[in-house]
Symmetry: C3
């Protein structure tokens, strides 16, 4: 059901501590904790004795102890202690997941651990860059992850769903100059909106007095969507790299399926203005959060309809181009994983 | 599962406005709205693009616009605008349902639109008659619609379920003189209860001092049950038409399945006394609402048992005669619709 | 799914009155009530007419009347009155369950009534013994009954789950001297914990100043687990019968499946100290209740994992010996009931 041989966001670094954290990731119950050494660990969240979630237990040094009968597991998932007996039963272990911690993000590899190459972890240096300020956030959305991809890749909805916040005029969005670049493992959508009305959020941020030139670049990879946004007064210069932007926004969107119908949404919104004023960061985060709340309502209502009436006919429109390609990327990865697992089964037989 | 080629109550006229109203009717998600022209419209409640319920959108003139990407639908269900492109994708449409608005009721035809003959809409002129005063109400009951039919057709339960309100003495009800008249598409049950104790509600209404003669006439059609009630001091005259009634009550019971296990209940209780005193209408409505709450508890408890233990044996008693016939009427209509759809399938092949 | 030919706890005597009580027991809806004569009665909780739960009705003399149309049932389950008609429909009856009331407990026999031998009711004279004081309690736990059995039979969890209450040092528990005696229809587990740290509850109860000798005896039968506990100052004498115990506790654990995934837990905790001080009984009950709340959290978390991931591999450890035998006892009884019902079917054919 899910592409498994990828790095997905398991949580923010700040969430992982010596208090075990339970989280279902790609249909798998996971306990996240930080060892005495400071290392983040992810284990299958159940004791192999009587199935109590290990997240009910406590961290003991570099291990975790079950809260029922005290069985102790090391970071690799092997049981290393059973109180009251000297011999550890053979097969007493739980699954351990490869983790990489980078850019304030804890990345998990839910697939075959042999393929967990840490050089494949997506980079996000903005989280550590002093020119940007941000806050991290996390929700669970009651919708399939592909509905969230659709939503973020096709920003033509901004004028309709976010009219009162970041929207601006709907027409500006639907007639935006859009280029969709398809890559092997993703999509890049670029939108230019010259000479448009600045949305209220932008005005509050940097005080635009008149119309603006505005750009967005959305880079989709399965599990992560980066949205880079820039704006400047009309005619004052604008480039894709953002050097000349009076207003710059960088949004990290970690999209990790929880179950088929629910999805973890890990996001941060970094801004390039007033970065030394925490109250500005807080207020800006709150404004973006309000727009994501508008998206959540849409995605959850869609999910409900898709669940209730699975077979109903739908049509595609022009602005779906990016989203459709993203679905193809995921479908191709799923097919390739199914193929690989089939070949493995054959070579074993 | 449901008889579809009938007019059912979709809502009260007062409920349908330029703010779209979402309602599931006979397992179908429907959005109800009123156009700029004042016409009530019912469409399938999902956009054919990405399935967002149209009830999340807004009325635009005589059309409705989706709240996600702004696609616009006219009252017939055709998509007439896709922002950002000139061509409407072929097949971009949703289902539109025939509606008739009459007697403050919005009636919907969930079946074959070609058979939607507005002359078949049940009449209820009492809603517009100055000799009667009423208020409209609506609940969703967690019970199958046939359990509600049973409840309303067989009023021998009144003494047991409504002892504290409209009940009076249980014996008076169970020994009432009852005539059941079976019609092709319904049932009429007539009950005479001469020389009986007036229930508290009746006494409060018109101040009966002693015993009363009392009649009820229940007319069942699939989707609508009219209950007409009259009472007078003992021996002061009583007729079925109600001319001589000191106390007259007319109850409209619109029974529209929402799903197999839940039902919309649209009701009004009109009275012929103190019709110019709104506080009397309000108080009377409240008293009837209290008895319907007693019925709701019964029907929902039955539904729970039927769902948990579907196969358990039940017996019939004499007072079931009307309800049993109502079930036969519905079964015959269902069989005839199944037959018709079978014949159609054959003639197409 | 359940062993049926056993006496199970249906409720406490104090719960059964002339106000009908609805309770699902071993997947069967039951209404419990007390007749005018003072006899406790258990009937199938639905009227055989239209399935309204009889618990919505009222006790009428030694019978119960349905709250919908007034049908009356005697304690044997036969309908003896149908208002409005003289003849009782043939087959108008509901199931009646054998009940025995003893030691403040109402025991029900959910299986074949012909085998309901009241001499098989487990005894619990402590409830009527002036040397002990207790209070009765009842919860529904969202877990399968065998998970509760596991929990109560293997007290090696006490140090981990109840560290803050009755636990004491985990090591004392896991190295306890344990003997497991397997009987035909149950298990007896005896644990001696000499020279151990008294848990806070014990100290509060009788003021232990130093270390204690401590024993527990757990007697499991399907449906009932008796836990007897004693403690004394180190070296002051200790015996299994409890004559010399400074602190004595007797816990009644009635385990009655409600459904496959939920279980009634009827418990009392009797103590042998300050038995004439109701506030001590109340406080002691509260402390034990707090530990059972800790168990409830564990059992419900296990149930969730077993339900979500039914096939996952588990291992056994030494302390499971008692619980494993209890599962074998239940499995053997289930097999024997299946066999008997098969033989009956054959002899009928």
């Amino acid at each position: 059901m899910f592409v498994l041989n990828r790095w997905y966001v398991a949580g923010w670094s700040s969430e992982v501590s010596d208090r075990p954290l339970a989280r279902t990731l790609l249909n798998e119950p996971v306990v996240l904790f930080r060892t005495e050494d400071g290392r983040a660990v992810a284990l299958e969240d159940r004791c192999c004795h009587r199935n109590l979630p290990l997240s009910h237990g406590h961290v003991e040094g570099n291990c975790i102890a079950c809260g029922y009968h005290g069985m102790v597991y090391e970071p690799g998932g092997r049981c290393v202690k059973v109180p009251g007996q000297d011999v550890i039963p053979s097969g007493a272990c739980v699954r351990s997941f490869p983790l990489v911690e980078r850019d304030q993000v804890v990345w998990i590899w839910p697939g075959n651990p042999d393929q967990a190459d840490s050089s494949l972890v997506p980079l996000y240096p903005i989280h550590g860059d002093a020119k940007w300020a941000h806050r991290c956030d996390h929700y669970v959305i009651k919708g399939n992850h592909e509905l969230i991809n659709d939503n973020l890749i096709d920003l033509s909805h901004v004028g309709y769903v976010h009219g009162r916040t970041i929207g601006g005029t709907p027409e500006a969005h639907s007639v935006a100059n859009i280029k969709v670049e398809r890559t092997d493992d993703g999509v890049i959508v670029r939108r230019w909106m010259p000479d448009s009305v600045p949305p209220p959020t932008y005005v509050r941020a940097v005080g635009f007095a008149g119309r603006i030139d505005r750009w967005m670049e959305i880079t989709f990879l399965p599990g992560l969507i980066r949205i880079y946004i820039g704006a400047n007064d009309v005619g004052q210069g604008l480039d894709e790299v953002g050097h000349m932007d009076r207003l710059g926004i960088r949004i990290f969107n970690g999209i990790t399926p929880e179950t088929e119908g629910t999805t973890h949404y890990f996001w941060s919104a970094a801004h390039n203005f007033k970065v030394d004023q925490p109250e500005v960061t807080e207020a800006f985060h709150g404004e973006i959060a309000a727009t994501f709340e508008e998206d959540r309502i849409v995605v959850e209502a869609q999910q409900e309809r898709f669940t209730q009436f699975p077979g109903r006919k739908t049509v595609f429109i022009k602005s779906d181009a990016g989203g459709v390609h993203a679905r193809r990327v995921i479908a191709a990865l799923l097919a390739s994983e199914a193929q690989a697992s089939h070949s493995n089964a054959e070579s074993v037989a």
